[in-house]
Subunit: 354 residues, 2 copies
């Protein structure tokens, strides 16, 4: 960490003072960038882009060439782990992700193995090594994985679900089978994230995209309990280097206290929460990342600046805020609007760190 | 009120003691009932069912003939108001609701009029009068409307939206135009609900299905502010009879305190919240309605009973709870499972009112 040229993200994650609020964006390497579209066309399809380290490295770095961002995030997909477990992933723009072999029986679940990250997910680790080399210690690199629960939703449903009928049916009717699946996934995710850290990721983020569809007790038992296990195993494995962990749960506003108690260093907030109110609840324990509505980037530059001002003002004075959106950058976003956003953070945030 | 044979709902809404927790279900008159399917077939399409008082009355009463429910809810649709405003609604099973003339200009918004409920929405009022007659004071009848914000989302998007791009664009870029639309809708909703009360509804519910997609300040300014106006106008109009109001916001867990302060008598909770935690926050001010995950009704009778027990236990001892789902009954629900649910509430809830 000490030799990183830009330490804002790592300092903010530890709630140490910074000169200005660090900023990076979920899906900052994505379809809104014409250079991403070009590389994607060259790759042919999304999975080829994900599994070819040179191409994945290229798109990881693209937003960094354009914008003065305070972190890079690995270009990959949370579903690479289930893919490595043999579920046969395909991703198309129109249809979204889809598994050829969704989990529909206890037998299929019991047959699952934990992939070796340096074998079945070697392309991810190679991408990280390549990105680290190219970044040359300019900014930290964020690795990531889906939460065990979120991976389970896709693996059981077979695709993005509207009502989560299959996976909730399993959780409600056969909780033991569900726990078995989540335990396997917690092992797979922890192993993969530890390998990402070994390969060079300086921060890791757990995306719990679908924790918010559960009841409170369901969230605690099926989602948070397994994210917590992942975090524990990360901490055990890296106790000397203590890699910071960001935990993001879309729709998790009711459970901030439990999330803050999971061992994570920061909570990623979606846009529905007031970040100042969230800070009051859990800001003594964790840093907060977020939380502008990605739709704001489709509005005018003035409106974007106004919203940046509101979010910085709501978080208020002092350390512990990492600016981000409350969800990924939309494909229709103009790159110049991302420029406006970052410029506004650069202009307005130093006053909060005086 | 005094001559109603079953006063559980009205008493619970005022947090007065009851012998057992009252229960009714959102979308209790719906596709999961074969008798509903039969009437729907006879009607031909959904809009004919909605706009024919004899048929709408018939389906309103169907669940009451099967189950010992503590309330009837008017069979209708929240989009009848925009339909009466000239937007040209069509509803199909596959595609969902769709407007022929979505609002896409300030001019179109400024041209909107407030419908006269006894003219353009006369079929709704006639249905209420018919249902009241048929119910013969057995249980109270709940009227309802969409919140101004929720109606605006459909009217601007033209249909159910995935990302609310159009309506958020309007709210973010032209807030004055958005406020103008919401003000018209608050008038229309208040007038319609007052007419429903005049026609015989004893309770009204405001469905804010899409308040939860907003930021906190967006929710307060664009959604809650206008639901509050509707409630104020209801209270002003009915100050001698004081009709109780239930306010439901899907995904509104972060804003319970603000909702409790809106003038409503009860808050409808979605299934993501723990009802006991919600009671601790706002139970001194309002009753709480909810909040079982509708998916539980697809699970086994044992699992349903277990969940009823957990929810009753979480709310705890005393008045102010109306049992319901956290969202509407799913079309795939077995009617016998609704029977199991109500039976469990009848068996288990008296202990909490001893």
């Amino acid at each position: 960490m000490t030799d990183l040229k830009n330490q804002r993200l790592l300092r903010a994650l530890r709630r140490h003072p910074v000169d200005r609020t660090p900023v990076w964006l979920m899906r900052q390497a994505g379809r809104y960038l014409p250079e991403y579209q070009a590389t994607r066309s060259r790759a042919g399809d999304f999975m080829t882009l994900c599994t070819t380290p040179e191409l994945a490295c290229e798109v990881t770095l693209q937003p960094l060439s354009r914008f003065p961002l305070d972190a890079a995030i690995l270009f990959s997909d949370i579903l690479t782990i289930p893919h490595a477990m043999g579920l046969g992933l395909s991703i198309t723009d129109g249809d979204g992700p889809r598994f050829k072999h969704p989990l529909r029986s206890e037998r299929a679940i019991r047959a699952l193995g934990v992939p070796d990250p340096e074998k079945e997910l070697r392309y991810v680790m190679d991408t990280i090594r390549l990105v680290r080399q190219e970044l040359d210690r300019r900014v930290p690199l964020i690795g990531f994985a889906g939460s065990p629960w979120t991976l389970a939703t896709y693996m059981v449903e077979g695709h993005a679900s509207k009502d989560f009928r299959q996976v909730k049916g399993l959780a409600y009717e056969q909780p033991n089978v569900m726990h078995r699946l989540l335990e396997i996934l917690a092992n797979a995710v922890a192993r993969c994230l530890n390998a990402q850290v070994a390969a060079g990721a300086e921060v890791v983020m757990i995306f719990d995209t679908w924790g918010g569809v559960l009841t409170t007790s369901g969230y605690l038992d099926f989602s948070l309990a397994y994210s917590r296990r992942v975090i524990q195993r990360l901490n055990t494995n890296n106790k000397n280097s203590a890699v910071p962990v960001i935990l993001f749960t879309k729709g998790g506003g009711a459970w901030l206290d439990a999330m803050a108690d999971s061992g994570c260093d920061a909570i990623g907030l979606d846009w529905t929460l007031d970040i100042g109110a969230a800070r009051q609840r859990v800001g003594q324990h964790v840093a907060l990342q977020g939380n502008m509505d990605p739709m704001i980037l489709l509005a005018s530059p003035d409106r974007i600046r106004e919203e940046v001002k509101a979010i910085l003002g709501s978080y208020g004075q002092g350390a512990g805020h990492i600016f981000n959106l409350g969800h990924g950058v939309l494909a229709e976003t103009k790159p110049e609007h991302v420029e406006v956003l970052i410029q506004a953070i650069h202009e307005l945030s130093p006053a909060y760190h005086a």
